[in-house]
Symmetry: none
Subunit: 205 residues, 2 copies
């Protein structure tokens, strides 16, 4: 997988080079010139006071291209803004090489990565501010009609999983997943998994 290091001054830190030796270093103004559709990860350094949305519009990313923000001064707001701008991760500019490699691993596999201290901040503020649940979802009502297992399967379907994935996740056969799903469709009066997804996610009756 290709890695691009994007910096205002095109200055690569030693830790970056150690973590990802074969990364391509770019200045921001060279970014437009890269019209490649090649899948890979853009590591974008954010200096003091900058925000991602302004210098790396999310439409600049093709399918299969990911964005990780390296923040000089990481904090709650930077992380939120980065994630909202389509980044798959946000960590400190001066993170150790092992950490950067870890981030790459997680992000490549479709995960989100947030540094430990930042995560604690996020969790902390969420806990403090949350107090109670916001959405009295309609999903609660229909999930209540289902058995425990049916409910698990239904939620996984609602998240976009295939029968094969659900089977692997729950360590059961694909046939069993189908059995549970048929029961769910019957109980909720639905036609297929797409309608189930809409129901669980509160997008329809």
């Amino acid at each position: 997988m290709q890695h691009w290091m994007v910096d205002r001054e095109a200055i690569a830190l030693p830790s970056w080079q150690e973590a990802i030796p074969n990364a391509i270093l770019l200045r921001r103004d060279q970014l437009a010139a890269i019209s490649s559709e090649e899948p890979g990860i853009f590591w974008c350094r954010l200096r003091h006071g900058e925000i991602v949305g302004a210098i790396f519009p999310r439409k600049a990313l093709s399918a299969g291209q990911l964005l990780v923000v390296l923040a000089d001064e990481p904090n709650e707001l930077v992380v939120s803004e980065a994630l909202a701008s389509g980044a798959s991760g946000c960590c400190n500019t001066h993170s150790a090489p092992e950490v950067l490699r870890q981030v790459a691993l997680v992000v490549e596999n479709g995960g989100l990565w947030i540094g430990q201290s930042l995560l604690r901040q996020l969790v902390g503020s969420t806990s403090r501010l949350l107090g109670m649940r916001l959405p009295a979802r309609s999903s609660e009502d229909c999930l209540a009609l289902l058995s425990e297992r049916e409910s698990q399967v239904a939620r996984l379907v609602a998240g976009g999983a295939s029968n094969k994935e659900i089977a692997a996740q729950l360590s059961i056969t694909e046939r069993t997943v189908k059995a549970h799903l048929s029961a769910v469709f019957e109980k909720l009066g639905l036609r297929d998994r797409l309608q189930l997804s809409l129901k669980i996610n509160g997008m329809s009756i």
Copy 2:
């Protein structure tokens, strides 16, 4: 590093055994008997409605001992409570072995681990509370990539329609609907109509 699997019933899932074959399985009531100072990771399964604080007080952990919560029904509140109770990670009870190994790796190195979907929930709620908008590309951004006809088909799919229904609606062949959909999947990097629905409706990715 030692691993302890702690469960109310001392039932080990196959995925756990595959991920960490040499873990020691414990019932919760056997926990007190373990007065070891040995460094390691406690994997504590949380069943429905349970909270960590009640069954695994943080003072039970010695220095060098870490706690990871395996939640049967992971959600925002469970994660918040787990992290607040001193856990270093929280993921789904039925996570795949590769995921569990990934978690172990991160946690052993002093990191915090939260599953991708949970993290998105956390970030989402934080963003909402901070007045930001996470799904900035819910409909418009990704629909902008599509042609007029592709966009129509995509919206109908997002509403739960089948190919046959879409064909009837637009007075074209079912084959043409499939052609448009394949183009949409290609452009947006999606796998099937369910993922498209989630994307259009701003429920995911």
